[in-house]
C-alpha cells in the first residue's frame, strides 16, 4: 500500500474535527435531554411539618408508628439514631441545668433544594413538587454519595445486607397520596407535630412565636436553612442546643451545580483547543519537513 502522507494527514484532521464536534454535540444534547432533575423550582406550597420541640414529650410514639408503617425490623424497640431500621426518632438531649431533656424529632428534612438529589449518581432521589424527597430503590446503586451531600446526616445505608440500599423518611408519600397524614404526625399524642402546606406552617410558627414570646426563641429553623426545608422547628432554647447544624441560606449544592452546568462548555472548549493545537502544530511540523530534504517516508509500510 502506498501511503500518501499529506492526504491521510488531512483525513486525520477531518476526523479529529468530527470527533471533537461529536463530543461537543453529545454533551450539549445530553444537557438538554434530561430536564433539571435536581433543582427544579421547589414548590413553596408543598407539604411541610411544623415540629414544636417545646411540646414534644419524647415518647417515641412517632418513631414506633413509623417503624410499623414502613415495616422496619424490631418494631417495638425505641430507636436512638437514624438507621435503616428507623427513619425517625426523638433525640433526647440532656440539659446542663435541668432534669428535663430537650426532645428533638429527627428525620429527613425534605429540603427545598436537596443536595442529596443533586448528588445522586443515578437520580434515585427526587424532590417532588408536592414536598417529599422520594427515593427509588430500584435505581439506587449504593454509592452513598447522598450521605456526604446531606448536611443533616439523614440517608443511612443498610450495612448488614449484602445487597444493601439507602434508607430514609419519604414523608409517607404513599399515605399522602391516599389523603392521610404521615404516620408520625398521626401518632403524636402531644400535639407537637403539625402538618400542612409550607406557607401555612411558617405562618402558624410565626403566630405561635408572637403569641407566646417567652416560650419560643424567635426563629423558625428550616425556613431558610440550606435554602429552606419542609421540616420546620420551633424551640424554647437556642437552636445550637438542638443538635441541628448551623447552616447558611445558600443551598448546599449550588457550587457543584454551577460547575456541572459548565460541563458542555468545558468539553467543547477542550475538544476545540486540542483539535486546534493538533492542527497548528502539525502544520508547523509539515513546514519544517518541507524545508528539509524530502526523505523517504514509506519505510513504515515495508517489511
Amino acid at each position: 500500500m502506498t501511503a500518501q502522507p499529506t492526504l491521510s494527514r488531512r483525513d486525520f484532521l477531518k476526523t479529529a474535527g468530527v470527533g471533537a464536534a461529536a463530543v461537543t454535540a453529545t454533551c450539549v444534547l445530553g444537557s438538554q435531554a434530561s430536564p433539571a432533575l435536581a433543582s427544579g423550582p421547589a414548590s413553596e406550597n408543598g407539604w411541610a411539618m411544623l415540629i414544636d420541640t417545646t411540646r414534644c414529650t419524647g415518647c417515641q410514639s412517632c418513631a414506633l408508628a413509623c417503624k410499623e408503617v414502613k415495616s422496619r425490623p424490631n418494631p417495638t424497640v425505641e430507636p436512638t439514631a437514624l438507621s435503616s431500621e428507623a427513619y425517625t426518632f426523638i433525640d433526647l438531649r440532656p440539659q446542663a441545668d435541668s432534669e428535663a431533656t430537650i426532645n428533638v424529632k429527627r428525620q429527613c428534612m425534605h429540603c427545598q433544594h436537596p443536595a442529596c438529589v443533586s448528588a445522586c449518581t443515578v437520580g434515585a432521589l427526587r424532590k417532588t413538587a408536592d414536598g417529599p424527597v422520594t427515593y427509588d430503590d430500584k435505581k439506587c446503586i449504593g454509592c452513598r454519595y447522598c450521605q456526604y451531600a446531606c448536611p443533616f446526616g439523614v440517608p443511612t445505608y443498610d450495612w448488614n445486607n449484602p445487597l444493601g440500599l439507602i434508607h430514609k423518611c419519604d414523608l409517607c408519600v404513599q399515605r399522602l397520596a391516599e389523603g392521610e397524614r404521615p404516620a408520625c404526625v398521626a401518632s403524636c399524642p402531644a400535639g407537637a407535630l403539625h402538618f400542612g402546606r409550607r406557607t401555612d406552617m411558617i405562618a402558624q410558627a410565626r403566630a405561635r412565636i408572637r403569641s407566646n414570646q417567652r416560650r419560643y426563641v424567635d426563629k423558625v429553623y428550616g425556613e431558610h436553612e440550606a435554602g429552606g426545608t419542609s421540616m420546620l422547628y420551633l424551640s424554647g432554647v437556642p437552636f445550637s442546643q438542638l443538635g441541628l447544624p448551623e447552616l447558611g441560606e445558600q443551598t448546599i449544592s449550588h457550587q457543584a451545580e454551577a460547575v456541572m452546568a459548565k460541563t458542555p462548555l468545558v468539553a467543547a472548549s477542550v475538544a476545540t483547543l486540542a483539535t486546534g493545537l493538533y492542527w497548528l502544530l502539525k502544520r508547523r511540523d509539515l513546514k519544517l519537513n518541507e524545508a528539509q530534504v524530502t526523505l523517504p517516508q514509506e519505510d513504515s509500510h515495508g517489511h
Binding site: G19, V23, G123, C140, V270
Partner: protein, 390 residues
C-alpha cells in the same frame, strides 16, 4: 540517534534477572490471589461485615485509592496529549508505557468501585438512569468512555505483535483514528479529572476549609496532569529497566522538567487559594488538619520541588526516581485528605479500615502492577515499527 544514557542503572542491574522477576511475579500473584478472595468474601458478605464503614463514615480507603489511582492514571491522557495532540515527538518512547499504566489504573479503579458499591450488581445503572447534576454521574460516564479510549490506544501494542494480514489492516485503521482518539481522550479526562474535585463541592459542611475550595476542580485537574507526568516518567524508566534498555536521558529530563513546572503551578494555586479565601492561617491553627496538610504539602510538594529545582539535588542519580515518587505521594495524600483525613466528623466517629479492605485494595493494585509488567514484557511497548508520525 539521540544520546542514550543509562540514567537509573543501579549497580545490580545486570543481576536483576529472571529469579527476581519470578519472585516479583510470585509475590504479585499471591497478592492478587489473597485480594481476589477478600473481594469475593466482601461481595457475598456485604459491606457491614467486611469493612469498617458506617453511616457517619461511608467512604474509606477504597474510595481514597480509587481517586488516587484515577489521578495517577492521568499518565495516559497526559502523554497521549503531549505526543499525539501536541506533537512533542521526542517523548514518543514514553507514550506506550504510560498508556498501558493508564489502562491498568482505570481497570483497577473499576474493580475497586464495584467492591465499594452497595449494589455491585447494578454498577451499570448510570447508563440508563441519568442525573446530569451529579458529579459522580459525569465521572461514571467519562470513566466508561475513557476506558474504551484507552483500550483503543492500547490495541496497536497487541496488534503489532500479531503477524497476520488482518492485524495489518486493523493497525492502519488504528493509526488513522489515533489523533481523534487522543483528542477525545484528553477531553474526557479533562472533564472527569476536574469533576472529581467538583464532587467535594457538594460537601461544604463536611470538608475542612484547608481542602474545600471552589477551585477544587482546577486543583484536581492540574494535579492529575502533574501526577500523570510523574507516573509516565516512572513507567518509562520502569519499562526500560524491565526490558533492559537504556532510558533516554532527554525523555526523563524533559518529563521531569514538565512535572516540576506543573508542581510549581499547583503549589501556587494551592497557596493562592488559601490566601484569597483568607484561610491561610489554618495551616498552623487547625490541629490535626494542619498536620495532614503539612504532610501532604511538605513531603509531597515542597521537597520534590526542591529536588527538581535545586541543581545540586537535581543531579543526584536517585532524583529521577525519588522526585516523581514524592509528587505522587503528595497527590495521594491530597485525595486521602479530601476523602478521609480532612473530613469534619463528630468526635465519637472513627474509622480504621477492616483487614479485608486492605487485602482487597492491595490485591487489586497488585493485579494492576502485574498486568502492566506482563504488558511491558509481551506487548509492543517500545514500538519496533515506525508509527503514525513520520
Amino acid at each position: 540517534m539521540a544520546t542514550n544514557l543509562n540514567i537509573e542503572q543501579p549497580s545490580s542491574s545486570a543481576a536483576v534477572p529472571l529469579l527476581n522477576r519470578r519472585m516479583a511475579m510470585a509475590l504479585l500473584g499471591l497478592m492478587v490471589l489473597v485480594g481476589g478472595l477478600a473481594g469475593i468474601i466482601r461481595l457475598f458478605a456485604g459491606l457491614g461485615r467486611t469493612t469498617a464503614l458506617i453511616d457517619a463514615y461511608p467512604w474509606g480507603i477504597w474510595i481514597g485509592f480509587d481517586f488516587t489511582l484515577i489521578a495517577f492514571a492521568g499518565a495516559g491522557f497526559t502523554m497521549a496529549g503531549l505526543v499525539h495532540v501536541l506533537h512533542q515527538h521526542k517523548y514518543h518512547d514514553a507514550v506506550r508505557p504510560a498508556i498501558l499504566a493508564g489502562l491498568a489504573g482505570y481497570v483497577a479503579v473499576l474493580l475497586l468501585l464495584v467492591l465499594d458499591l452497595g449494589r455491585p450488581d447494578r454498577f451499570y445503572h448510570f447508563i440508563f438512569f441519568w442525573n446530569i447534576h451529579s458529579p459522580l454521574f459525569e465521572i461514571s460516564w467519562c470513566v466508561l468512555l475513557y476506558t474504551t479510549v484507552l483500550l483503543l490506544e492500547v490495541s496497536p501494542f497487541l496488534l503489532e505483535r500479531i503477524n497476520r494480514p488482518v492485524s495489518e489492516k486493523l493497525l492502519r485503521v488504528s493509526h488513522g483514528i489515533m489523533p481523534v482518539v487522543a483528542v477525545v481522550g484528553v477531553t474526557l479526562s479533562s472533564l472527569h479529572q476536574s469533576t472529581l474535585g467538583t464532587l467535594y463541592l457538594n460537601m461544604p459542611h463536611r470538608l475542612h476549609a484547608l481542602w474545600y475550595s471552589p477551585a477544587l476542580p482546577v486543583l484536581f485537574f492540574v494535579s492529575s496532569i502533574m501526577a500523570g507526568l510523574c507516573l509516565a516518567t516512572l513507567a518509562y524508566g520502569g519499562a526500560s529497566y524491565v526490558l533492559r534498555r537504556p532510558a533516554k536521558r532527554a525523555i526523563v529530563d524533559g518529563l521531569l522538567r514538565l512535572a516540576g513546572w506543573l508542581a510549581l503551578i499547583y503549589l501556587a494555586l494551592k497557596l493562592g487559594d488559601l490566601l484569597v479565601s483568607g484561610e491561610l492561617a489554618l495551616i498552623w491553627s487547625a490541629g490535626a488538619y494542619s498536620a495532614w496538610w503539612w504532610l501532604e504539602m511538605s513531603l509531597g510538594l515542597i521537597l520534590p520541588l526542591a529536588l527538581l529545582f535545586i541543581p545540586a539535588l537535581r543531579r543526584r542519580p536517585w532524583t529521577p526516581v525519588v522526585a516523581p515518587l514524592l509528587l505522587l505521594f503528595g497527590v495521594m495524600m491530597n485525595r486521602f485528605n479530601a476523602t478521609m483525613f480532612g473530613q469534619i466528623l463528630q468526635p465519637e466517629v472513627s474509622y480504621s479500615p477492616h483487614l479485608l479492605e486492605w487485602l482487597s485494595t492491595i490485591g487489586i493494585i497488585g493485579a494492576a502492577v502485574m498486568a502492566w509488567l506482563l504488558g511491558v514484557r509481551f506487548l509492543a511497548i517500545f514500538e519496533q515499527k515506525k508509527a503514525a508520525h513520520e
